[in-house]
Symmetry: D2
Subunit: 343 residues, 4 copies
């Protein structure tokens, strides 16, 4: 079940320390201008290097194997691969016996009976979000072109995700100090990403099983380390009254939607009954703190059959949530490119 | 896209004030004892009647059309229907021009071009959760039998959801007063449901697209009125350190899982890397306040092209979240019955 | 796996001698005029009564449960059921021990472990083609309206299937005598149905897995009793040379397609590389002779553990292929309604 | 829609003259021994070189990118690629204006609006059957191991396809002369492949939509150039009587199935009611003659808007059916590996 989508379909493959990782994208319309250069900006946003991210830096250069001819998509499946160059597999040997707390080492072992690739998390690695970002670039291009075309250029698709808090701190000015402190303690921090998608036409999605929330949440929870997803007022809605939470209609609409009769407020996050209402989509994604920490953890050694003290070796993000906004955007775009095809 | 699941597949159909609503369930193993009586308990839990729920009471008697022979499932598709008896369609006439804030009236009109059945919310009605509950009963039976069989009776499947707060109040002793007050104001309240699923074997689910969280969240957000879903520590995880959030392993495991090496704590809600780890699954679902309120709302009259004051007529729950725990359980069971088939 | 299609999706349920059989159709566009009367003509074509068909005659009256409001489809799932009224289950008792040669009695028993409904073939019965015909009526309406609309009324969708041979005899004038003779011998005959679909736009289908031939053959082989499917020249193509089989292009095109440059001949049956080329689709479906025959058969009695002489009791078609042309049309329309949605 | 299968899922990508072609296979069980050497035999069977096949010879060396670790499958997606080394793209320039009769040039242009890769047939090329053969190797391994394991080594899976006729000639001794003659005439020949699959357990498949015939035919018609598929007696069944075509049951069964009560004869090709009955699966696939012929064809020049004489340049098989038996086997194994997972 390594494929997502109905018409715009994304399959990813690869392992953290294997030779190549990649993505096959089906359902891409022909005639979309696409080159390897188009991926640079989003891939750079996912890359590590900033404070709080791992010193393992990959070239992350996309290589288009198929689906593009003379600079445009052909309509045939688009295959894009990335080499894994900067691997240090020796770090992971002991983890066969001592599954890292918070990681998939234990569950992978149960599911795959010991045959999984243990190096760097194997297929479970956050590195697999790189081909997701690549698919997101293609999805964004499709959405931008389709929406511009369908609205004669009056509406522009925009998808912007950003961190709103790290380690429970909303004031971004304090993040660097918090990251430094957590790093010194050999510990890690989580974060919350908010995503706003503008320009989405009203009428996408389905009642029940394929509600826009269902599909977006499905994709968001596919990102490793997500603990919660909420739309509009989210969990706070459960503490509001109907008169506070309902979005009334008005011909004034909201910024950028003048002329359309849309809800005046946006407590619902742009969706009613599972279907987009013309308001921006707004949702938040909660990321747990990085599981791999240098700080000692008292856990079980399956090899020796006794408890042990584990300090996870290797190079890790203090707060991997820092690298996720572009992944959240990619997932949102992947879902919406499929929904816009489904009409 | 009115079907959910890969092997255990559920399709629902019907409208709130149509003749019948129903469900077709595919992938049911043959030989499971099933009669119409088996549905009574869960259907009663969904039914209205308690304080804070609508006085519209339906018989909600399931009628099995196919898939059962001589008291056992046959392996062929199971079709179950329910009559709609207690409908008062005259209540809904004005809503064609004045879409109810917080409802799908507006988005359904955009999507279906005015051809949707407007009576009682049509296909978008919460009434469609009745066949979901019926499918949940079947899914629970499959899970109970399969897990008992696979563990020689040592492990019992249990799925229990309950409201943990109404209108932001966690103390259940204060709920009745809060509901009465909101009812007097013609207003409504939301709530939060927590679900705990015990007895789920380790190893279910897939990395990425079909993570257990992805599938469960997909199903939960298909329930009308859900604003957020979180697993384990949920959004609070984003405010924790890795050393606080990681679940270390221990041979002691947790209550009811002695003997198995499982995580000692359950911050992750029973899932690592998208795959169940043997701990109970724990997740919470946030429900918005009921959208239909008697209290006046200033909204747009599309017929007259001007703002108007709307008091939504009809019989409505003050807090529909009261009726949702059994729906949350049903959705969880539907997802898990499919995952256990997929292995 | 009782559902077929990607966007226009058809699920059937029921058993030959159960209470009701039915179909749920998802992906029906809103606004299509539809009433129970629209089904009469096609259902009558499937009905028995003519020479060579069973004297079991059902009312076959469709009952629309959902998805239609005020005479038009709503866009929500369309559920249609049929009562089973004329059942004589006592005929089938002995068949539990002695599976009928050529039937699914044996394989159903292996697959469902004895829990299948044995009455009249249960879910395997040809009676399940009745809801297929109903779905075909809806699919034809969608195709007629869509193609008329997209071509401003210049092209008309037509789907016509007819028997071309019975018992190896192509001359229809001799069929009645052959059927009478086979009936006297307690034996049965097979037949071949040819289907021509006109008005299908060029460009439908996909290379490889979802070629038009793949989808059509998938649906045709779902009809009970089909032994072969061929397109255009079919098996004869394997005996031709490239210079004989290739369809050259010409601005003259073929009847009804003047002005379009399409292949001048139609050896390929309207499809190249899995994609429609604008020519009529032409394919043939081979039906085996009816398996239930009065003539004695030497087969195994699983109850007694010995060989026995079986004369299948009950009322059966001498040549069920007589009733299949409308089913072939329905399957073709179901496939094409989905493909035209996929674009 | 470039993916096939429910649990064992195969996606192919690439173009004839692109950089690489490949396949991603999902749902592969962990622990299956697999190396690049395992592919050699089947790939060699597909390769050209014999009389009647193209002189374009590719190395066809598989490169496993992911899903294998230390010589065994990991359970993660298996990605395999092949380089395209021996391309001569200059041969194909004129075909942009003059679509080759019998090819997808015209339909691809309609569907993809001119953006398709025209070199060597692009994504429509028979070269894409190379990754299909690779997926077939994996599927065969899964079937061999699963069936051996489930039957304690008593039953062996075997899948054998072979040409039974070329150009209408069943006597293989005359094939070489017929091929030489057709080659001299600049013409081409078709052929028929028969496939026998032994060791398949009874009980696979589903009634109706996912009958074994439906799935096998779906896959077979995905092979470029297939015109017909028939099971057991096939089209000849339509000319038989029920008493001749029915397979009676016997405790003697057939070769290799002693002890099991299975049909004594095999007119049905091993399937009743869409479900395998324990007999060998037997089916035939008709291949058209190669479309690319040197012999002149009178067809339309879309560039000049007039009829022209076309002699298709390039290197082509006189009878590509010679290379297809291993592809037919691969498709059969892909279908059955999925069905055996579905149970």
């Amino acid at each position: 079940m390594n494929t997502f989508g109905t018409i715009f379909r994304v399959s990813i493959f690869g392992e953290s320390h294997g030779e190549e990782i990649g993505v096959v994208i089906d359902g891409v319309e022909p005639g979309i201008a696409l080159s390897e250069k188009d991926f640079e900006k989003d891939i750079a946003r996912r890359r590590s290097g900033a404070k709080g991210t791992t010193p393992r830096i990959e070239a992350d250069k996309p290589h288009i194997l198929s689906g593009v001819f003379e600079g445009h998509t052909t309509g045939a499946p688009l295959a894009i691969v990335f080499c894994n160059t900067n691997t240090r597999s020796q770090d992971y040997d002991r983890l066969k016996d001592v599954p890292r707390p918070g990681h998939a080492d234990f569950t992978a072992n149960v599911k795959y009976g010991g045959f999984q690739d243990p190096r760097g998390g194997g297929h479970f690695s956050g590195r697999l979000t790189l081909p997701v970002v690549a698919a997101g670039v293609v999805a964004k291009k499709i959405l931008e072109e389709t929406i511009e075309e369908e609205t004669d250029g009056h509406v522009q698709f925009r998808c912007d995700a950003a961190l709103t808090e790290i380690g429970g701190i909303a004031d971004a000015g304090q993040w660097e100090a918090a990251l430094e402190q957590a790093g010194l303690e050999g510990d890690s921090l989580g974060g919350v990403v908010e995503c706003v998608v503008d320009g989405v036409p009203a009428g996408l999605g389905e009642p029940f099983w394929d509600s826009v929330e269902s599909r977006l949440a499905h994709a968001m929870f596919a990102i490793p380390g997500v603990r919660g997803v909420e739309f509009g007022d989210g969990f706070a809605a459960a503490r509001m009254k109907g008169s506070e939470h309902n979005d009334c209609f008005s011909p004034d609409g909201i910024d950028g939607h003048e002329g359309l009769v849309t809800p005046l407020t946006n407590h619902a996050g742009g969706i009613n009954g599972g279907i987009t209402n013309g308001n921006p989509l707004v949702f938040r994604v909660a990321f747990k703190p990085t599981s791999s920490i240098a700080k000692g953890q008292h856990t079980f050694d399956f090899g020796k059959g006794e408890m042990t003290e584990l300090q996870v070796p290797g190079r890790h993000d203090t707060c991997f949530a820092l690298r996720t906004p572009v992944i959240v955007e990619a997932m949102a775009a992947i879902v919406l490119a499929d929904l816009i095809d489904l009409g």
